[in-house]
Each structure stands twice: as C-alpha cells, then as structure tokens.
C-alpha cells in the first residue's frame, strides 16, 4: 500500500446503492481542495465509473490498487 496521507476513507464495500462513486462525489463536494479521499469498493462498476468521473470533474486519481475482493481508489480533490 501507498504512504499517501488520506483525509477521509469511504468504506463502500458491499454497498450497491447509492454506490461508491456517489459517496465519493458527496465527500469531494464537502471537502477542501488538496484533500485526499480513499474509496474501498467491491462493486465491479466502480473500476470504470470512478476513473471516468474523476477525469470528467478534473480531479486526480492518485492510486488504484486491486485487493482481494475489493479495490482501493485514492483521489485528490484538485479544484
């Protein structure tokens, strides 16, 4: 695992609705520019949804790690 300092972790494993990306969007909306968010998701769709939204909203996907049964996404609020 990385040594990046995470400001907030969203453990969305097993959560299909409202879904890991929705929770990330909510957290970024409330967060400050520069803050780092970690999302844990077991939802397969997150692997495409989260990077696609991060790119569209012009934030930064700092890291993606596939663990057993779930994925970690580390996202920095860039603007």
């Amino acid at each position: 695992m990385s040594t990046i300092q995470v400001d907030k972790t969203i453990d969305a494993r097993g959560m299909a609705c409202p879904g890991p990306l929705m929770n990330l969007i909510g957290a970024i909306r409330q967060g400050q520019v520069g803050q780092v968010f970690e999302v844990l998701s077991s939802d397969e769709g997150s692997k495409t949804d989260i990077p696609a939204w991060v790119a569209k909203a012009k934030h930064e996907l700092v890291e993606f790690v596939q663990d057993s049964g779930y994925a970690h996404f580390i996202v920095r609020k860039a603007r």
Binding site: I10, D11, A12, G14, M15, A16, C17, P18, G19, P20, L21, M22, N23, I25, G26, I28, R29, Q30, G45, D49, A52, W53, K56, A57, K58
Partner: protein, 378 residues
Amino acid sequence: MAAEVVILGGGVGGTIVANLVAKETHRRAHVTLVDATGIHVYQPGFLYVAIGLEQPAALQRPESQLLRPDVSLVVDRATRVDPAARRVLLESGRTLRYDQLVVATGSRTVLEEVPGALGAHDFYTMAGATRLYKALQEFERGTIVIGVAGIPYKCPPAPVEFAFLLDDYLRARGIREKTQVKLLSPLNRAFTIEATSKLVQPILAERGIELTGFFNVESVDPVAKTVTSMEGETVEYDLLVLVPPHRGQMVIETSRLGDERGWVPVDKNTLKHTEFEHVWAIGDATNIPISKSGSVAHYEATIAAAEIVAEVKGESPPAHVYDGKVMCFLETGQGQATTIRFDYTHPPVSPKPARRWHWAKAVFNKTYWHTVPQGRLP
C-alpha cells in the same frame, strides 16, 4: 425497575422500534418516543403531491394513533444528547434519562447550501411538493430541469421517478410537445445501479426525456436561469427541480454524536454507535453509505428493536443482524413500475417494469398506516 428506552424521532424507524420494544419487553422497559411535531408523515408520498396525485392530508396522521398505548409520546424537540450522563435535553427544559437510546431523527434538507438555489423547487418536504405542484399547474411551455444538488439524499430512485411522472402529467395536460424535460444525473447513467439503469434508460429515451450524465449541481443563477455542475457544465431552465443537499438533524451536530454532516456513525450490522455505548441509530440518521429510505429504516428498526429487547431482558444479543436489505419501488410512468432489491452480499435485481409493481406500490402506500408502524411487516 423498568429500563428506560428513549427513541428520538417519530418517523417510520422510530415508531417501529417503540412499538416492538414495548410489545416484546412486557413492561420490563418503559418506552418514550420524542418527536418534535407529534405528526407522522409518510414521506414517500411527497412525489405524488408534487404531481397532484395525492393530497397532503392523506400523508399525515397523529403519531399517538400509531403508537401502542404503553409507549409514552413526548411532543418536544430534543436539543442535546449527553451520552456520558445518558440524558437527553428537550427544548421545553425537560430532561429524559435513558438506559438505551435510539436515534431515529432522519435527515433535513439544506437547499441554502447551494449558491443561488433557494428559489428552486423540490419535492423533499411537504411545503416543497405543494409549491412545486402549484408551479406545474401554472407551467405552459419551456424547459423543466431535474437535478441533484447533494449526496446522500433520500430515496435514490426519486429523481428518475419524478421525471417519468412529470412526463405523464405533461402529456395529460396536452403540453408535453411544448416542454423539454431534462434529467441531470450525478452519474454517467440514469441511476446508481447499473442493472436498473439498463431498464430505465430506454424508457427515458422513448418518452423524450433528455439525460445528461455526470452533472452534480453546484450552483444556480436564478437571474440567467442556469444551473452549473461540479464538473463545469451549464444548462438553462425555465422551471428547476432540485434534490436538495441533506444533513443530519441539528441535535446530532450540537451533541457531537455524528460526523461533520450530522450522520451518526454506527456499525453497519448491529446499528450500534461506534463510540458511545447504549446508543443505536437507524434510518436516514446513520452514516452507513446505503439508501436513505423508508425501507432501510424499516428493516433496521426491527434489528435494533430485537437487540434492545435482548439487552432489557438480559439475554445474549440476537444472531440476526442487519444485512443491508433494501427494497424500493421505482415508478416508470404510464402506470408501470419496477422494484430494486439487494443487500450487502447480493447485487441489485430489478424486474421488467410492469403494471403489477405500480399497483403493489399503490397498495403499500395505502396500507402503510395499518401495517408498518406497528411492526406487522417483517
């Protein structure tokens, strides 16, 4: 001496816990439910009020009529919880001591957090839904935009359902061809759940409802009549309907029982507060990243009630914990609906939209008063 069980909030979750704990403990617990208004509101009906299909009066009943006679109802506002002293302070100055506390205070909407949005319409309060219906009745032509201005929000399917019911309404009034309906979705599809989106998107296209993805409303310019997203896009409107941002109740924030948005941190299975003993939270009030909906509050309430009953009786905790069960209806318009069911370990499934699901929802809405608050449905 009877255990003092105090429940904050007379919505679906709080009412079920109160009735079940009183029933199962046979006077070994004294159950008190605190509610700020004493009026129980069936919030899923707001959607129908907004479109003129339901009357506000049909969605409200005195809480006292829904509680067992052995539950004490206190109509007052909880202003502070002191978990160390196990006390709740009320607005009237009264103090309630508790052995077990259930926080079922729901959520509140804070449209004022979105710059420029205060004049926008919503269907998340009775006042909002009533005002929206009035505006729709006066609407003749133009662009109606439906957007989401904060996450999490109650009832994830609601914006899509509203789009479909609005389409029906406009057709019935004969002004559909003069009206553009735009649905701005926070995700790159119509709905959070992919399987449900696949069912819903072709119907949106068929009805001429324009879907814009990855549009999380950030601000509104009420003079230019435009709405701008976190992603940097701007859309024009004539009538704007927003899902407002939600927060936990003030009492959670002032008592530091929750996180920075007022959501109470609980174990996702036992629903017990992660920090304070003898405190449970259920329904919208929790920080569990799952649907904020009546069905979640309902299922969680039965679990929290069973745990409290075991504690009052000095028995070991029940083996059955909250498994993340959610069951929602989703209206697809023209008299049809689908359902969405899932839990922590089973992915969502939705049947093909059909008339029978629309009728099932209609029957549930009408029979709610006689079944759910009393804990008669498992």
